[in-house]
Amino acid sequence: MSGKGPDLRVNIGPLGLKNPVLTASGTFGYGREFAPLVDLNRLGGVVVKGLSLRPRAGNPPPRIVETPCGMLNAIGLANMGLEAFLKQELPWLQQFDTAVIVNIYGHSIQEYGEMAAGLKGAEGVSAIEVNISCPNVAAGGMTFGTDPDISARVTEQVLEKGDKPVMVKLSPNVTDIRTVARAVERAGAHMLSLINTLTGMAVDIETRRPKLAHISGGLSGPAIRPVALHMVHQVVGAVQIPVVGVGGIMDHRDALEFLIAGARAVQVGTAHFVHPRSALDIVEGLERFCLERGIARVDDLVGTLLCP
């Protein structure tokens, strides 16, 4: 430990981070968009906007709508594609001393494998985060992440074809998130992140149209935090692999709730739209919290929840 401050370093399975605060995929672009406002060197890591094998234009607008204490989005996984990312964005990101976690998705199990293979040997990629909350073309558009067996097969494919530590991002839109968590763990995932957005919708009562062109979208923001926290707590009790907490974290107090409930790290997402410096503020807030209470290592807080 350097200096007198608390030790913020955490290990999430094979992935070592300088602090437990990551940016959530889709809310921080490729890092570049926020770099004028945030020193990326001070973040635990950047999880980049979800990538697919080929570029994708995404859904027609309107793609977002505000809801009470949250927002719905149906971006449609718009992205530049893996190749462009490796050429244009990754080299730029490598200048920073922060973990780069590449979020990937596919339209078939095979495509997930191709994505993992495409990232094999990619310098400066610390881990892969696998988005299983997208439609499985072969299963009529049902999301991969709602089926434990298919989630496990996606995980196996990414592990088999790639060479990076694998974090699987779980969907909350299931009956029991522990079932998928256990299946993915058995398949060999190194880490889990949860939760992805909760599916929701909103209607314009004047036009009687859905407020999103896609009709439904993913709910994020502080509105979903209690749900996310509960699911993290459930999953931490159901698996051995480390869990990263995501969902409506706005400040360091929110982050602490997740750490105490057993998450080894957190991802900060929608908060960036409210305060671009949210992730960094949370790093500083955690440091202050530990300092004020004489906690030597932030890791000492993980899983310290006292249940009656």
């Binding site: 234009a57 027609p60 204490c69 927002m71 929608t270 960036h272 739209f273 305060h275 671009p276």
Partner: protein, 261 residues
């Protein structure tokens, strides 16, 4: 692009549901160009959650920038309660603004409602002389007194739906009449307003090959190009989108798909 907690210099009602806010920030005032916007956090709580985008309506002195807004929902209602001396978190200036360098000798500015906000800034940056400025409003009490923004009453051709002030009808009627009179004179059209008005402007500008820059309003979350929430469909043959916050909010009108607006 900066994010700061800024002090409100004034926030006053200038028309029925329209307010003019002045915000202290020499940095922001210095960086801002016509057509650019800011994202303002309208309150300290979690609901409403997201920042609201506002066109920059001008710069006063070197220290204050202006925001002209209409109260349309909860966010703007909260904003209207803000008092002199209060502080608000502002992110900006953002986006690509108007390209005044191609305005030519006879630029024409046309705005609907608070859509005049970025045009007021543009008008002053173009120097005013030789610039035609047309603005349409709903009814008399909706008309924004442009003298508040350093313009003269005579600088602007007005229309209202009910004829309470200026021409009775659409502001695009004024444009149509002007073009019928001497179309060749208009070097560039700069427009901002509700989509039906903009479509009418496009219908008039395109057949005459008049260069046309349009500022488009969309729902936004991040304002910096990360979330891809604010997109506008491009006019290209393959499906593609521009981010209004980065590639816009001002577009060359030929680059966007008008049928999708």
């Amino acid at each position: 692009m900066i994010e700061q907690d800024l002090k409100i210099a004034f926030n006053r009602r200038v028309a029925a549901r329209t307010f003019l806010m002045g915000i202290w920030s020499p940095e922001m005032a210095g960086l801002s160009g016509p057509g650019q916007f800011v994202m303002i956090r309208v309150g300290p709580g979690m609901d409403p959650l997201l920042r609201r985008p506002f066109s920059i309506a001008g710069v006063e002195g070197k220290e204050i920038f202006l925001v002209l807004y209409q109260v349309v929902g909860r966010g703007t209602a909260l904003l209207s309660q803000v008092r002199e001396g209060d502080r608000l978190s502002v992110l900006g200036p953002l986006g690509r603004g108007f390209d005044g360098s191609t305005a030519g000798s006879d630029p024409l500015l046309i705005g609907g409602g608070v859509g005049i906000a970025p045009l007021l800034f543009l008008y002053r940056s173009l120097g005013g002389k030789g610039v035609t400025f047309m603005a349409g409003f709903g009814t008399g009490p909706d008309v924004v007194p442009v003298q508040e923004m350093g313009l003269e009453k005579g600088d602007i051709d007005l229309s209202t739906d009910d004829g309470a002030v200026g021409h009775k009808g659409m502001v695009t009627d004024l444009l149509e009449a002007r073009l019928a009179e001497r179309a060749g004179d208009v070097s560039t059209i700069f427009a901002c307003g509700p989509p039906p008005m903009l479509r009418r402007v496009a219908d008039l500008a395109f057949p005459r090959n008049i260069p046309f820059q349009v500022s488009l309003e969309t729902a936004m979350a991040c304002g910096v190009g990360a979330c891809q929430g604010c997109v506008v469909k491009t006019s290209g043959k393959t499906v593609a989108y521009y981010r209004a916050c980065r590639e816009g909010p001002v577009f060359d009108a030929r680059d966007v798909d008008w049928r999708s607006l």
